[in-house]
Amino acid sequence: MVSLVPTAITVLHTADWQIGKPYGRVKDPDKRSRLRQVRLEVIDRLAAAAAACEATAVVVAGDLFDAPTPSPSDVSAVCAAIGRIGCPTVVIPGNHDHGGPGSIWQSPLLASERQRRAPALLVPEPRQPLELEQLVVLPCGLQQRHDSNDPCGWLDQLDWSRLPPDKPRLVLAHGGVSGFAGSDLDDEHPSGPANLINLKADWLAQVDYVALGDWHGCKQVHPKAWYSGTPEADRFPRSADYRSGQVLAVTLQRGAAPRVSPQPCGAVGWHPLQVTLTSDADLNSLEQQVEALLGGRVGADLLLLELSGQLSIHGQQQLDGLLQRWEAQLLRLKRRGQVGLSADAAELQALAQQSDAPLVAAVARQLQQQLGSGDPDGTLAQALLELHRSVADACA
């Protein structure tokens, strides 16, 4: 006896893998390479997640590659990794790896690598429903980097009656959605008003889930529409509710509301830390905070350290020491802000009271006075440091 109730299936929704992302701002080439490698490694964790939830398919909502012309080695590696996923993987091109002529999606390389290593990798024809065994995928990928047309516009003309009535319908799209788009999505490559998806009620009523890509954080934008975010974080979060390094396990049933379950899968920590140093004593607290964040891991985290406040000359040297240590430990230490020189620091007082160097003392006093009135470009602090250093050298 055949059940009349449509079967529920689970689909793993992911996007924005951006394989080949260069991480050019990471100075160390080894660390750069490591960061690129972890973007490939996450695919195996996705495969594991897919297996764990017995996913019918993995859908990748665009930007699988970081560029429309990725390196052959990345293509091979991706195909190999996808080949290890135990279910079909449906991919659409995004703005980073748009599907226009000349792109990887039309290259013989991908065709041959897919055939050899990832037969279950499916790249649907643009604007053509892709019917899988238990799922209908409506692909809304991008054929160019910036398209002023709605990538989902073709759904307006779709003859829904020709689709199987019992299979869940999944719209796989890449781009911004009204009210949440443009620079909100991809601050590194703002697309402006292009690639905007209009989540129209007409066709939304005909589908069960909209798997979106482009925004690297996980976000629900409609009861049926989610951004999965990137499975491996690639930037420091700007707000507290920004979550990335996740994949969405979506349970779908034709005609039913989707059930979405975010599952962490990222390996690299991206930590923002904002600290104001009021005295040299605050350095200990800073050290403890950082240690707590890193938990002794080496080469697995990135830290955005935003410092402000003032330190003595000695404190500055101490901070330099700490920064050097963390720089070695971290994949990247990104610094923001500036720690000023404390005008009433003991070293400066000593400098200003040099009895055997009255001219130095006079100059130090004068600079110190000026420093008290502000030092917007840090020149005065630098001058005092230079003076301090020269006096030390002269005494040595």
């Binding site: 701002r25 000349g102 001219l359 003076l387 002269a394």
Partner: protein, 889 residues
Amino acid sequence: MRLIAARLERVRQHRQLELSFAAGLTLIGGPNEAGKSTLVEALHKVLFLKATATGRGVEELRSLTHGGLPEVELRFEAGGQIWQLRKRFAGAGGTCQLSSDGGTTLQGSSAETRLAALLQVPGPIEGRRIAQLPLRWAHLWVRQGQAGGDPLAAGPEGYDLGLLVQQLQQAGSAAALQATASALESPRDRQVQHLLQQRLDLQLTTTGKVRAGSPLALALAREAEAQAALQQAQARLADLDAALEQLRQIAERLTAIDAESALLNSWLRLQRQSEPLQQQHQLLQSALNHWQGLLQQQQADQGQLAQLQLQLAQLQQQRHQLEQAAAESSRQRQALEQRSQELLRQQDLLSTQADLASLGREQEQLVLHKTRFDGLQQQATAIKEQLQQLPPIGSAEVRLLRQAEQRWSQAQARCQGMATQVELLEGTTQVSLDGEPLTPGESRLLERPTELALAGGTRLLISPGGGTAINDAVAARQQAHDQLQALQQQLGQPNSEAAEALAQQRQRLDNDLSTLRQAAASIPWAQLDAQLAALQPRRQRLQQALAEQGQAIDTPPPPLTELEQRQQALKRELQELGQQRTQRERERSAHQQQREQHDRVHAQHQAEAGRLAGSLAASEQQLLALQSQHGSPRQLEQSLDVLSAQLQASQQQLQSLQHQLGPAASDGELRLRQLAAEREMLLTNRGQQEQICHSLGALGPALAVELHQAELEQAQADRQALERSTTALQLLLLAFAEAQQQSASHYCLPLQQALQGYLDALGLATAATAPLQFTPQQGFSSLQLQRQHQRFDFAQLSGGMREQLAAALRLALAELLRGAYDGCLPLVLDDAFSNSDPERQAGVLRMLERGVQQGVQVLLFSCTPEAFAPLAERLGTRVMLEPPTGDGG
């Protein structure tokens, strides 16, 4: 430090010299060569030249007149004690002894060291460093001729800057220094400043430019390189994006081309299908048109042919009329011709008759001429006979005869003039002359010596005068007479009158003959007979002609005038006849032309008629052919309607396609070719763009952009850090310079004040020195005098003013420095005011007095000591040096 006494032995001209110095002013006077300058040098050398020094410094002290080694002893007060210094300059063997009244006695180098410490100088000057000797206490030791020099010019060493600064610091300005928080400078300060400058010099050149190869220059270069690399990477990325965009556009365009090509192919196919229909339609339509045309043509030809035949009949009739008119005209012409012949005959007869009459008249004229000519010839013959009878004497002969007569007459007169006349007036006796008696009353002319015989045998010889001339005259008369006689004989005439009458007669006859000849000349006498003879044949010919014309020969011809009138009448009639004939000829010609015209028109009409007949026949044949091909015209029209409907359906389809294709449809084949070419081009371009994508994509342009961006940011950060560091160093060095400048003004102030005191004493109350400049390294500089609002550099001042200003500065320096020497310092002035004028002398004295009052011990050397004597007496002592005598001073 105060000098108390000195003793010189064997120093240049001084064998032995001893003198004491006052605490205040010691005036040491003396004439030139008294040894003042030697004393100045000896005092300086005992203090500063090492006793064991060798060379020039010592040699200069040696005496050439006094044996032994130079020795100088000096007693002075320093460090709270009285010291006795004795130096014996013996080269390496020189000795130095320093002892105090406190019991200290030092020898050799320890004595020298102690002495240097007391004088607060680095140490005694050795022989090899003799060049440095004049710098020692140069501000206190003014040698002869150096008084006008700038004391500051020698630099800090020349006036003991270190000590001066120390004194300035300790002097009353210390409080002021503290108050202004102004710093003095220490070696540590200089060291720090030096280190800072070194660090800045690492980055910048002295002119403030970035030093080549410096870290900053390298950072700038790295930044520029990163910038260039980033631009290149961005350009590559942009190229890749552009290539991808091109590919997208190419794909779009290819799709559009394919669509348009499909439409065009449909369009062309439809066009090809409708073409035969069109052609058939055109064929039938043209057949129908032809048919209708033929019928119309046939109708028109027939009408035209009928018209032509009518015209031909009319032409035939007109031609007949023309021929009749021509025959009549020909008849009239013949009649005129006959009448014309008749008149010409009459004209010939009249002409012959007129010729004959003319011949008669001509003959009469010739006979008349002949008669007159014969008469004239007879008269001429008579005249010629008369002429032949007369002798041939002409006017020339008459002239010759008259000339001969005149010559003789003149010769005669001359002979008579020269001859002596003898006239017998009265006598009774015979008187003979050359034998010929002379009668009373008779006179004779004697042309030669003539014997006059008187009665009684008296004879007288009478000779005419003139000597032989009378003989020549007689001879000439004889010759003239002979010539005259010969001419008279030749002409046959007794004299010229007779000859002239004869010549005139001959002349008259010649004239008559000439008149006859002229008359004969008017007559055409030549060939008169021949002419007359020639008339006869002419007459015969004319008569014969008359006879031939039927006229009787013997009938006299009518008069000529009548003949002429008759000829005129005939001529007029002939002219009228000629006009009539011309008229008739024109008529004939016109008739001829009309006939020819008629003939041509006739021929044309006949040809046209023939053509029309042929055309009609051909039309008939074509109509028959059309009929056999298409049946009736009605059937043909029905076939055409069917075809039209098919064509219309095809046209509608084509229009629909045309609407879709737009202007491209106007030449579909061309457009298809264009599209194919464009497609080809696009495919080529696509290949190129794909190649670009492939090659640029392989380079990882996005990675390159990010990497170079990061490099650029790092380079910028490095550069900014270095720039900040450099700016900080500049800021520091500027702060150092400012602090130094600030302290300098405080250093300068006490010196300036002390100097002003001496300038005031000098009487230059309105003058002041401009602010001195001070740097710790360079010391004081810019000694200037300010008067009113104008500043004068030291070098610009007069010689006297330079001496006074320099002395004022030296006094001020000594005043300030004396604090380091127990409140007293000596100032040695050797001829220091030689250029000062007497008016300024009082000021100089006041200045020196102020110096003494301020604790300066003045040793004033002068060769004119009188000016300073009162001051010396008041403030100290006066010493006079005498020039050395033979055995020393």
